[in-house]
Subunit: 301 residues, 3 copies
């Protein structure tokens, strides 16, 4: 099984005897996704949709989530990375997690891996551009495409939405502002697992989902190298003072209520509890470390 | 007034002098509804939509709710029963409340009452198939229609979404797997009201809504039989140590802040407080019993 | 810069060298927005969408928010006013914040400022009709357009949704019921800032958003008159025992964690904290007063 996020967009069209053409969605009904920390109590998200539909009535607007914790750029970067590849090529992904709204940060519009992204240049695109080079990158500066009059507090409405709508109408990306080079796209300092000795891998918890599953930064490739090295060794994962033996294939590999480690849908190691809540079980938090050690099968004890 | 859920889908097209043809929605823009316990914090719902739209760009995806309490199959079954009949015939209803993901439970795809349903075979379709016989039922086993590579933790993305999208493209239901008989669809043990004596009906609270209204399992048919039996008798409802006299026609039949019993929009008895919150008022919980007794008008006292 | 809400719908189509016709959205894919206090836990919102799509499969349904605090008509009125102008002319806005459901309150359908509105006549349209005269107003009484059988507890499903869907099909607004005059539309008693002396403006906090920003009732026009009166005077805002000097242009005009006053995206004064939460900072609540005073520059101390 090839890892999902190896720089290639996964093939969403099954092979075999079912045949159909890919619909020309970029023309018929372009997709615009929204990823914000606006929450769902206020009118903010609805207003962005109104602006988009006023410019392009055919846009198909899809919510990724609006419940990113306030100003949590890192969380938004992870969610974006885990969602955009499942949309059709040519989709436009709008990210408004933007603590610097109205300040000096740039808004950027990039094309990367066949998708478009509009986001503040604050690192939220780190995991998109790390995995592929941005083919095109522009600072969004052309006021021609902004809402007038423009506020300094709601660029989601006044800049992001109308620029996305214009892009979906076929306006060329180069019209939105001045060209940037790929290095101009700000990258977050992403934690990667370390390997202080041959038999020890150290990672950390980077996110917790709705079910209480603990997402770590240990990816499948790193794990496979670590595991394969000695062939047939068993791993033990230590987290919050407890030990989990081996990596399971699915939640029900252990009895109900028992913790397990599993490579989840994002292809990173997750700590879960079968039909339970791992965050509550371990009293865990984002940033907490975990270690994976190898026990050689031939060792005594 | 005929009860809404008597095995017939309600007529959504008003009679009278307004005439229009039913649009061929199953072809033009097929509806796919989503009902999950995924919450709205993560990318999970957005990713399912991306997969669907990558296969069928014309799908019209409608959220029922994603806030089913984690793994609460019974609640999902009630919500599904109360929502699907209001969608056009031919709609595809995807239910992912699936504590057994990656384990041995089947995923089923059925046609019933003119609608399609894709769900884990864990009882969540109980209230759909109880009210009508499934015309067609299949275990979803044909990997041709799954996302590749497939995870063991997110079948919503890897199986439910692509199968729903293919179904909406016109792929025949029989292609998704092996045929099942209607008895193979798992039923929940649904609590029904009991009638220990001629003048006493015992039910229970099965759900609480956003407004704090307490939904019971006493349906309109059962109530009518109970009420009509002696003609002209009055009922008293006892719940959490309090008594409510009679069944009201609407919330404002009692003063503000006063509790009442009313047959709600789902045609089940609900305990409410006019402009208030019955759950808080009664300190009630799901599973709690209530009784309805008949007072004969001719009795002394 | 002209204020956004001066009785004119803002121009959403940028001027300059980009030219495109406004799409005939009222015919191709009419927009129906939903604004309710239903929450997102139950099936209520999904059911309304099912009813609409059963009548008009081409309707483009957009959520404004469903998280209006239960029965908070005033909050809904503010959210409606801040959102509807950003949708295309001809859009249909459905508001179901309706504590009087099933009682004697009317449901009204009005045309105002090029948009349609369907709402209970409980004041929720106050800020729409205050800013423009309703061109047309009708009490929704024609049962021909209601769902049959009709409940007394869920008019969102049984009246609001089917009436909106029929309106979006091109049914003339006059067919839904008896004509009303503009004075029949109920207005809320909206608090306006007062000016007890030439150098003092008194307002109040009317709403708090997801970020903890405190929305006040001091609008840009009132502020400009107050500020301009003496030319070059400085203002000081007193709120919850603290003083804020001047009105900033954007959040980052002050250091992180410092409070500021800013005219937000709704063109009302907001009290915020740069990258913080003003509600928590000030321990503020809706209804709390604030004052703005003018300090003359030439005064000694």
């Amino acid at each position: 099984m090839a890892p999902l996020f190896s720089g290639e967009v996964p093939a969403l069209f099954v092979a075999g005897d079912v045949q159909y053409r890919k619909l020309p969605v970029t023309i018929a009904q372009p997709i615009i996704t929204l990823l914000t920390d606006f929450g769902l109590e206020d009118e903010y998200v609805g207003v962005m949709k109104g602006v988009i539909l006023s410019i392009n009535a055919r846009a198909n607007i899809v919510d990724i989530t609006h419940n990113i914790a306030r100003h949590r750029i890192r969380q938004a970067a992870l969610v974006l990375k885990s969602s955009f590849p499942f949309f059709p090529q040519g989709s436009i992904h709008v990210v408004v997690v933007d603590p610097g709204v109205g300040g000096r940060r740039d808004i950027v519009c990039i094309k990367c891996r066949g998708h478009y992204f509009i986001a503040p240049n604050n690192g939220v695109l780190s995991l998109v551009v790390l995995e592929g080079h941005a083919d095109k990158a522009f600072a969004v500066t052309n006021g021609l495409f902004f809402l007038e009059p423009m506020s300094n507090t709601f660029h989601g409405r006044d800049i992001f939405a109308p620029v996305a709508a214009h892009l979906s109408m076929g306006i060329d990306i180069s019209r939105f502002g001045r060209p940037l080079s790929p290095e101009d796209i700000r990258k977050l300092d992403i934690s990667v697992p370390s390997c202080p000795s041959r038999d020890r891998l150290e990672g950390e918890i980077v996110s917790v989902d709705h079910f209480g599953n603990l997402l770590t930064n240990i990816d499948l490739d790193t794990f496979r190298k670590f595991e394969a090295d000695e062939g047939g060794a068993d791993v033990v994962i230590s987290v919050a003072g407890e030990q989990i033996r081996g990596v399971s294939g699915s939640y029900d590999a252990v009895p109900e209520g028992v913790p397990l480690a599993v490579f989840g849908s994002r292809n990173f190691l997750e700590i879960s509890v079968n039909q339970g809540d791992a965050m509550a079980y371990f009293n865990a938090r984002v940033g907490q470390g975990l270690t994976m050690t190898r026990k050689r099968r031939h060792e005594s004890r």
